[in-house]
Symmetry: C2
């Protein structure tokens, strides 16, 4: 079955290889919505997913998305041949996983390749993610998929260096520990090339925060050059093509709010294979609004990460950390970068310093820099001595930022609201999710200056009228939105507080230098 | 968070409420692909699924699909307000089913309503179908979903008549038994309002076949009128809005090639609730290429249909039928209508007559027209006496067709190819799927005249040169395609035949009267 049709190019890129036909043309070719259709033009072939236009499309005409027109170098009005195409074989493997069977490495490879080459529809990828969520993967499968995700992407080769790394599982706001850990560990002479993510649902990803201080987007060659020069880097993972299929899975997981346990393991570890990591510390923050809800979950992650690490040659240690309130006081790119820099300069909230040196200490012990049990002390010494600050300045310079930057140079958004306590009492809780929502409403992570500064935190005693937290924004409008949200979902709970009362607030305009 | 943007209307209907933003605008609103966004214009509100345009879209501009522009009566260039919208609550119930919990009727209702009102994305519906497939439904859930599917659609009220019905599970080609059963049962004085489907993957659905003889698209009022008048109807289910959510589920199931067992039960029975059926015979064809592969599966369906029927007040009987080759000899709309009419006129292949009267007989016994064990004999009598033909003519007339039509009036496609046996031997098999594929390649079901006529079938002894089957088509080109397919996948297997030999064929042009 084959049909000649005229193409019209869609003038936007829709992010999927789609061919839109009239219902009659589709029926003639025996095609249904989401079937695959092969388009042939001058010997060039592309396979698209069928969409049916309900009206306003001439019979004998099809709309093609950019993916298709680019592949076949089509022009509007050109005549091409259409024919039904078969499903890729990986669809059968997705079905197999739905049928509770286990998949081999070759089968995962077929799926991952088809995902990368845009041959699977969103519906099929959703079914795959659902199958992985419901019918969990065995550890053999997890290993196979981890290796597959790594091998189908770029591999960064740092040659003979022993690579150290850390990874934080998401959910706790203000977790800028990487900005302390990397310079501490690099200052000790270990190699720590940290690729980080931007915020997806948080107020600031590590890459967003580091970007306040220096560029973060580099290709593999440049990453190797920087790391060879200064032992460490804090860059954006999206600049290199590490485990690219994982990003495509995440695009489907996110709207489904699904995060299959073993796929999360694969996602983290594939990227570590790709950077040649030999020793890894995983930070598992546990608390309200974090991914890890309780100690059983934390232990499950820890055991599985360690087991998977063993299988793929990465010595892994896991730390369950306190995640019931933000790390430090600052949330949002500029505020977090400022707090991290201040800590490197010698001042800073103890929750941030404790956590950062604790994690760095484990890496120092693993790297033979400190004896067992003395890593944290050594990390603290590197911090207090200014060695970590010096290394951070080297890293900032190597990444193309200004090494003379100080914490005082960083300015949050020019509009500020102060949220005050309405009553006396103890602060009994900080709601992580509300903190993030308010910071995002204020403009974070896109507006670097937007965010929250918590002046009082869990365990503090406050009096009516005390400032609980400040909200910063680059726009008066967004600040109002953020404050409105703070009224609806107070992020700080005071014992005995009437939840429904609206906290008073005032808007101050601070001048920008 | 809220943003004013200008809308551009998409000039095709894409079948989903989609709002396409630039990446920067999406980020500003904290939106990701497949999130939901609320569009507000002049007090009218629509919720769309977010799509990100990679290029060629002006910042501050969004593309909206027809669903959105119609709901809000938008014009291109108009300014509207966008804000992130929450996921509908039914997403949590889908997640619950993925987590192996059981759902209540209210939870199914929430999902079905959101499907019907276009509030769930394709990804979310795919996850729901995957969850139903992997974590099967309990019978309580099956009953709840069946009732929900029926109640969220149109209900046809035939008043006090006891409604009889039959349903065939798919997969056996040429299964035109409905065109005999309905007139036989209606001739006996029972009421049988048969709503049928068009072909999805087959060569001719019952509605496609009946349409050769009379119109098949009627609203509920007209169906009641016809049935009150002549006791029976053979119409297209798509003309009425019976269990409409089921059709939307099928749209997702089809590309996934998934058919969750209990959802198949719901799908059949919801439509029977909607037509007020009190007694139902289910035909379960078992054989190569049919949905039911073996007797265990057939029994599972039978037990579950009967149990579900009991719960919803439909007395159900199941018949496992021979499905290892097509029913009768004709496959394709005109050829099947002709064969059915010929059987009503007194001649016809015994496989068709045996099966039709067997099923009709069960209905006659249930309706008190024949004593237990004598239904088939009674059905055969109604057929042989010409009473069924007379009733069929009444039904054709009531549906607006020509009651004077005879089987000889019906003409298949004007191009014909005869496929001959290459060797002597016994026919050991007929491949159902190949038969369907060839008929579809010839143009069925869209081209009513396209199809296959099997001259020799399983069990026959043939000599080299004997005509095995004829292919009909309205187009020479499609006939060639069909014959090419017949070469690749011979639908008739002769004992000792060299499978790879190409059967000879000749093309004859028959003149149309």
């Amino acid at each position: 079955m084959l049909k000649k049709v005229k193409v019209t190019l869609l003038d936007i890129e829709e992010g999927r290889p789609e061919i839109t036909l009239t219902e009659a043309d589709a029926e003639e070719l025996g095609l249904h919505v989401k079937d695959r259709v092969r388009l042939k033009s001058d010997g060039k072939i592309a396979v698209g997913i069928v969409n049916i236009a309900s009206k306003d499309l001439e019979p004998g005409t099809v709309l093609v998305s950019h993916e298709i027109s680019e592949l076949c170098r089509l022009e509007s009005g050109q005549t091409v041949e259409l024919a039904p195409a078969r499903k890729p074989s990986s669809v059968a493997f997705i079905k197999k996983k739905m049928d509770k069977e286990t998949l081999s490495k070759d089968e995962f490879l077929a799926i991952v390749k088809d995902v990368l080459e845009n041959r699977l529809s969103e519906t099929e990828i959703a079914a795959f993610i659902a199958a992985l969520y419901i019918n969990e993967m065995t550890m053999d499968e997890t290993e196979a998929l981890t290796r597959t995700l790594a091998e189908t992407g770029e591999i960064i080769n740092f040659e003979k260096r022993g690579i150290f790394d850390k990874h934080s599982i998401g959910g706790v706001p203000g977790n800028k520990v990487t900005l302390l850990i990397v310079p501490i560990v690099a200052a000790a002479g270990l190699t720590i090339p940290k690729t980080s993510s931007r915020a997806i649902t948080s107020a600031s990803g590590t890459a967003d925060t580091m970007e306040v201080l220096a560029p973060v987007t580099f290709n593999a060659e440049k990453i190797v050059e920087i790391v060879n020069h200064v032992n460490g880097i804090i860059c954006w993972g999206g600049g290199v093509n590490l485990a690219p299929a994982d990003d495509l899975f995440i695009k489907v997981e996110h709207p489904l709010a699904l995060d299959p346990h073993n796929l999360a393991l694969c996602s983290v570890m594939a990227k570590k294979i790709a950077t040649g990591t030999k020793f890894l510390v995983i930070d598992l923050p546990m608390g309200n609004g974090t991914k890890i809800k309780n100690i059983d979950e934390a232990e499950k992650y820890a055991i599985d990460f360690i087991e998977l690490g063993k299988r793929i040659g990465i010595k892994t240690e896991c730390l369950v950390t306190y995640g019931d309130k933000p790390v430090g006081r600052a949330v949002g790119p500029v505020l977090e970068a400022q707090e991290a820099l201040r800590a490197l300069e010698g001042e800073g909230p103890s929750s941030l310093i404790e956590k950062s040196t604790g994690i760095a200490g484990v890496l120092l012990e693993a790297g033979g820099i400190a004896r067992k049990g003395e890593g944290k002390k050594k990390a603290l010494k590197l911090l207090k001595s200014g060695a970590a600050l010096k290394k951070m300045k080297e890293i900032i310079a190597a990444q193309g930022g200004d090494p003379n930057v100080t914490s005082n140079d960083l300015k949050p958004g020019r509009y500020k609201a102060q949220i005050k306590a309405e009553s006396d009492g103890y602060i009994v809780g900080v709601h992580n999710k509300a903190v993030v929502d308010i910071a995002r409403a204020a403009g974070a992570p896109r507006d670097k200056g937007a965010g929250l500064l918590l002046l009082k935190s869990k365990g503090y005693s406050v009096h009516a009228g005390d400032i609980l937290f400040e909200v910063y924004s680059d726009s008066k409008y967004k600040l109002d939105e953020a404050v409105k949200l703070a009224r609806q979902h107070s992020p700080i709970a005071i014992e005995g507080m009437l939840i429904e009362r609206i906290p008073s607030y005032s808007v101050l305009e601070t001048s920008k230098e």
